[in-house]
Amino acid sequence: MAGRHGNTVTKLVLLGVGMFGFAFALVPLYDLLCDVTGLGGRTGGAYAYEPAKAEVDTSRLVKVNFVANTNDGMPWQFWGETPTVRVHPGELTEVKFYVKNPTDRAMVGQAVPSVAPNAAAEHFHKTECFCFERQILQPGEELEMPMRFFLAPELPKYVQSVSLSYSLFDITELAAAERTRPEA
C-alpha cells in the first residue's frame, strides 16, 4: 500500500479490527448489564441464605406466581406443584417442580428462568434451583425438583406481584455437540 498513507491506514485498520472485537466484547458486557439491572428478567446464579442475618420484612406480603413451560417442541412434561405463593421479603420459601421424559430416548433438558417485572429480577434470589444445571432424564424417568428462593427486602415497595417463569429447552443435541468438541 502506498507508503505515505501507511500511518493513516494502519490506524484505521486497527479501529476496524478493534470494533470487530468490540462486537464480541458486547456479549460479556451485556450479561453484566443484565445481572446488574435485571434486564431481560435475569435472576443470576446461586445465592447464599444466612438465616441468622436474614431480615424478614413482615410488613408486606408479595404474591409470587410460577409459570412452567416447555419450549420449541420439547416433549417432556413439566409442571409446578404450586401456581402461587405469598411471601414476606427476606423469607426463604421452597416450591417443587416436576419433570417427566415420556419419550423412548435419554434426553437433556435445561430450564431457563425469567422474572417479570424487570425491577424485581435483581431482588429475586435463588439458593437452590434446578436451573443451575441441566437435567439428564432416561426414557420414562420422572424427577422432583425443589427450588428455594427469597425476595430481597430491598424489593421496591411498588412491586406487589412477581412472576417467575421457567422455559424448559431440549438441549440433547447441544450437549452431544459439546461432548464431541474436545476431540474435534
Binding site: A2, F20, L39, G40, F169
Partner: protein, 533 residues
Amino acid sequence: MSAVIETHHDDHHHGPGKGITRWLFTTNHKDIGTLYLWFSFIMFLVGGAMALVIRAELFQPGLQFVHPEFFNQMTTNHGLIMVFGVIMPAMVGLANWQVPMMIGAPDMALPRLNNLSFWILPFAGGLLVSTLFMDGGGPNFGWTFYAPLSTTYAPPSTTFFIFAVHLLGASSIMGSINIIATILNLRAPGMTLMKMPLFVWTWLITAYLLLAVMPVLAGAVTMMLFDIHFHTSFFNAAGGGDPVMFQHVFWFFGHPEVYILILPAFGVVSQIIPTFARKPLFGYDSMVYAVASIAFLSFIVWAHHMFTVGMPLAGQLFFMYATMLIAIPTGVKVFNWVSTMWRGSMTFETPMLFAIAFVVLFTIGGFSGLMLAITPVDFQYHDTYFVVAHFHYVLVPGAVFGIFAAVYYWLPKWCGRMYDEAMGRLHFWLSFIGVNLTFFPQHFSGLAGMPRRIPDYSIQFADFNMWSSIGAFIFGFSQLILLYTVIKTIKSGEPASDRVWDGAHGLEWTLPSPPPYHSFTHPPVVTDAEAHS
C-alpha cells in the same frame, strides 16, 4: 495535510485502458465511481422489482400472486439490497468521483484497494440474490434478521447470506479507509478542514461511522454463523444465550447505519442548494457541527428500535431522551437549508428540484421520527406501517433523491454533456408524485393498525394499500426515464461548459468538462471563491 501531489499510479498510461480490462483492472477513481454507480442502479432495479412484487401482492386483500413464504423473502431481500446494494454503493460511487475533484487531488489515496472494494460487490450482490434460488428459499427473516428466526428457524441458505454480508461489509470497510486516507492526506494546499465542501465533510464522518459499525455487524453475523453451525449459544436461550442481545448488537450497528445512508445525501443537498440559490451556504460551521453531533448521538440511541422488548423504565427513558435530542442538530440543518434559499436568486433545474423535495420530504420523515421517539406512543406505532412510512420517507425521498440530485448535478461535469432538462423534470415530477402516493397513505394504514411485513391484511386497510401500490408502480417505472436520460446524455447530450451551473463554486468546476483522467496532476490554488470560508 501534507500535500505533495505526484502521480503514483501503477498503470503507467495516462488514459483509460481498452475494452473490458479497462473496467476489470482500473485503479482510476472516475472509472471506479462509474462502476459503483452502474452497479447501484442495476441493484436498484432488482430491489425495486422486489418492491413491486410486494406492492402487487398488497394491491388487494387476499393472496393473489405469491405465497407468504416467498413474500417474506421479497421483503427481506428488498431491504437488504436497497440498503447494502443500492444506497451505500451509490454514495461510495459519488465519493469516488467527487472527493478527489473537490479537494484538489489526482485520484484516491489507495487506488488498488479501490479496485478491490468495488469488485467484491458484484460477487456479494450475486451471492445474496442467488440465495433466492436455493433449496428452502432465500433469507425470509426481515432485513433486521432477528434471532432465533434467523438462526434456529432459518432456511439453509442463511449461511450464504452471512457470507454475502461479510463481503459487503469488507467492501464498505475498505472503501471507508480509502476515503478517509484520501481526505486526510491528499487535500490541496490551502484546503483546510474547515474549507472543505460539505459533501466531503459528510463523507469523512460517514466513513468513520462505517468503520466503527460495519465490523460490529460482521461480528453479529459471525456469532449467528457459530450458533447455526458450531453449537454455540450467543443468541440461543437454551444454551445460556439471549435472543434480545442479538437486537442490541444489531441496532448498535443499525442505528449508525441509517445515518451512514443519509449523511452523504445531506452533503449533496448542501452543495446543490447554494449553487441554485446563487448564495453561499448558510451556517457552514454549524452544518459541520450538526453532522458531527448527529453521528455521535447515533451511537447512544439504538434501543429506540426495541422499546417493545421490555426494558427497565430507566432504560426506556434514557433512550427516549437521547433520541429526542437528535431533533436539535437535524432541525439546525433544515433551518440552514431554508436560510440558504432565503433571499437567494433561485432557479429550479432538476438537481434543485430534487434537493428541495429532499428538504421537504426528509423533514416529514423527521417529524414521524420524532413521534416514534416518544416511548409510550411508540408502543402503538412500533412495527406498523407507520414505521414503514417513516423510514421510507427518510430513505427514498431522502437518500435516494439525494443520489438523483447528485447525478443530475454532476453528470454534465462527468461526461462533458448536458442532460435533457425536460426529461429530468419529468423524472422528478413522476418520482415526486409516485413517492408521496406510495408512502403517505402508509402513515394512515399504520395508525389504523396494520402491522408491517404481512402478505395479506384485513379489509379496512384496502384503500390505503391500493393507493400505495399505484404510487409504487408510478415511482418504479419512472426510474426508466432516469436510465434513458443518462444514456442519452452520455451518447448525444449537448456539450457542457466547465462551470456547468452559473452559481457553482468548488474545485471540481475549475476542471474541464469532462475532467482529465487524473483529476489534478498539479495541486490547484484554493481561492476563496472556490472554497467555503
